[in-house]
Symmetry: C2
DNA sequence: AAGCAAAATGACAGCGCTGGACATTTTGCC
DNA sequence: GGCAAAATGTCCAGCGCTGTCATTTTGCTT
């Protein structure tokens, strides 16, 4: 069962120290010996015991990915999956494995337990003033956020939410809409805060009054988008366009609008955010703000690996540029 | 930085062995001492080093979840996310953490490396005669599949695909459809094989001839469903209904049908499989075969934990019953 | 209060590996 | 052939924890 370094040493006819050298800094081993050792490992199917190695070196080849906290099922957005995939693939390519870190109500310390075994962490979503982030920060564990945090020290990769929201809103304004509903995610997420900001900036730039009753908050899900759209449509006067900050919410919004006997985009235009893979196949295909979850994940993982290896970092705060993808869920506002 | 068991022992004025006992089988420690030790741990913010513990006990509190292999991004289906969530949550509640295991072309041995550090594994998708499965099987590592495998020894939790496919097909037949397109996933997946079987059984039970040109294979994605639907619609005569074995593919199918100037369900009925969260918000809301990914994940994790702890298992092969959810993407066949 | 079994606690080795300090052997080269 | 440099080996400690077994303490009994 357990092939150890001793077995390999014996098989290759060298000392265990040499095997260890091959495993680590093979530079000090002659190519011939190294070859011999590698063959022995191959034959025996040797895999180093990562626990023992980790213990001895006081490091780990695992990075933690925090997939949300405070609730049960946070990995629900296809866009987050892309981020996870990006992180995971990049980690793997660099010899790291990924530990999923999820904090449940009943198991609140999962993050801390995990912290003991990982070389660093990626946070998949960030609430303002996140307790986990603070805890890790003071513990000295390297970490990267895939979300912006207003702290000079925080390392993050995020899409430029303010800009994304601005261009989405302005797109609607250019189509003649002035009553634009905004469906946000949780109020304490930086993405909600930033996207509200971009929305207001666009209104202001076009001299349109901000109406608080057209802005609602939910939780990124289709169900949430559905319900909040009902709320928006009940306003007087009702919005002629709705910008939901996730495609999932936008999907729910479209359905709610049609169940109200209205059409998209004939009566109400809808813009989403993310450009998840199904967005283009919706009916109508969804106009949305594209951000690449994969790219975010890849960059976050790369940044984390740099931090772990204490390599210099060009920038520790990256804002990716979002792009408006115009499809068929938006149209000029009807003459009132 | 590193609070160890020694620090706790010193603080509590006991031997490190006693602290270790509190950490494990506290039954052998007097309540008074245990209390003292716990307080010391609390004060010092002690978290046991899982690596050291794993090394000493030769076990691990981590389970691996294999999220696909052979390609880059396999965690793409919302339904799989549910499975992952179910596994992860259950693992966590039982004191286990989850390691994501992904095999890339460039890193084919990730599974083996991971095998060294996990107590067991869950496979999220199964190809027939899977090499990974065989390797683990012979290595003696406990594992559970969230997919059926035709092997008496394999432990699995899966939906009854044959039945799910049967009821979906029969639903279409009862609506008067006789030319029913079938969009499968990869041909070497048991889900494709089983669902083809259910489809044929339903045809046969209703004395409808099987036409090979109405059956196509893709990869579960919306894009795939979109493309394959184009293929199906080009057949002569074209199908009046399409059953896609994932909701993602069904989403693509609906779009393709409408781009062909046909309507759903007016001209072509569409049935999906999974009942992902957006299915009910699609336009039209999707008729589909519901299976609970979360339940699958939870059951698989529970089964694995039983295996790891060598607890008796009521059944090591579980088939969950799928349920047809009729919405608005299916309608009676038009009179020809 | 002595005596004794049971309960509680401690001392020490060892899990598989790495790191350091050094001794010894092998290599390559003039 | 001789010498420095490179390669390899030896030995020991230690990462933080647990298992085994010996030792001490406790709680009862008579």
């Amino acid at each position: 069962m357990a092939t150890t370094i001793d077995d390999v040493a014996k098989k290759a006819g060298v000392s265990i120290k040499t095997v260890s050298r091959v495993l680590n800094d093979s530079s000090k081993v002659s190519p011939k010996t190294a070859q011999k050792v590698r063959e022995a490992m191959e034959i025996l199917g040797y895999q180093p015991n990562v626990l023992a190695r980790g213990l001895a070196k006081n490091t780990s080849d695992v990075i933690g990915v925090v997939i949300g906290h405070g609730g049960d099922l946070y990995l629900s957005n296809p866009y987050l999956i892309d981020v996870l995939n990006g992180v995971s693939t990049t980690a793997l390519r660099n010899g790291y494995q990924v530990l999923l870190v999820q904090t449940l109500k009943e198991v609140p310390h999962a993050g801390l337990i995990a912290a003991k075994r990982v070389a660093g962490m990626v946070f998949m979503s960030v609430q303002v003033d996140d307790a986990n982030v603070r805890a890790l920060s003071s513990a000295g564990l390297p970490f990267v956020l895939t979300g912006r945090l207003d702290a000079e020290t925080a390392n993050f990769v995020d899409v430029d939410s303010v800009k994304g929201s601005f261009i989405a809103t302005e797109h609607l304004i250019r189509l003649g809409h002035t009553r634009i509903g905004l469906i946000l995610g949780p109020a304490n997420h930086t993405s909600s805060i930033d996207r509200l900001r971009g929305y207001r900036q666009a209104l202001e730039a076009n001299a349109i009054a901000y109406r608080a009753n057209l802005v609602v908050s939910g939780d990124f899900s289709a169900t949430s988008g559905y319900g909040l759209t009902q709320t928006l449509l009940a306003q007087h006067p009702a919005p002629t366009a709705i910008f939901a900050i996730s495609d999932l919410m936008a999907t729910g919004a479209v359905r709610a609008i049609e169940l109200n006997g209205l059409s998209v985009p004939g009566d109400v235009s809808v813009v989403g955010f993310d450009d998840i893979s199904t967005a283009q196949y919706l009916n109508p295909p969804l106009t949305t703000v594209r951000q690449s979850g994969i790219e975010k994940g890849v960059l976050a993982a790369k940044m984390l690996l740099h931090l772990i290896r204490k390599q210099p970092l060009a920038r520790n705060q990256v804002l990716l540029t979002p792009e408006l993808v115009v499809r068929e869920s938006t149209a000029p506002a009807k003459r009132q």
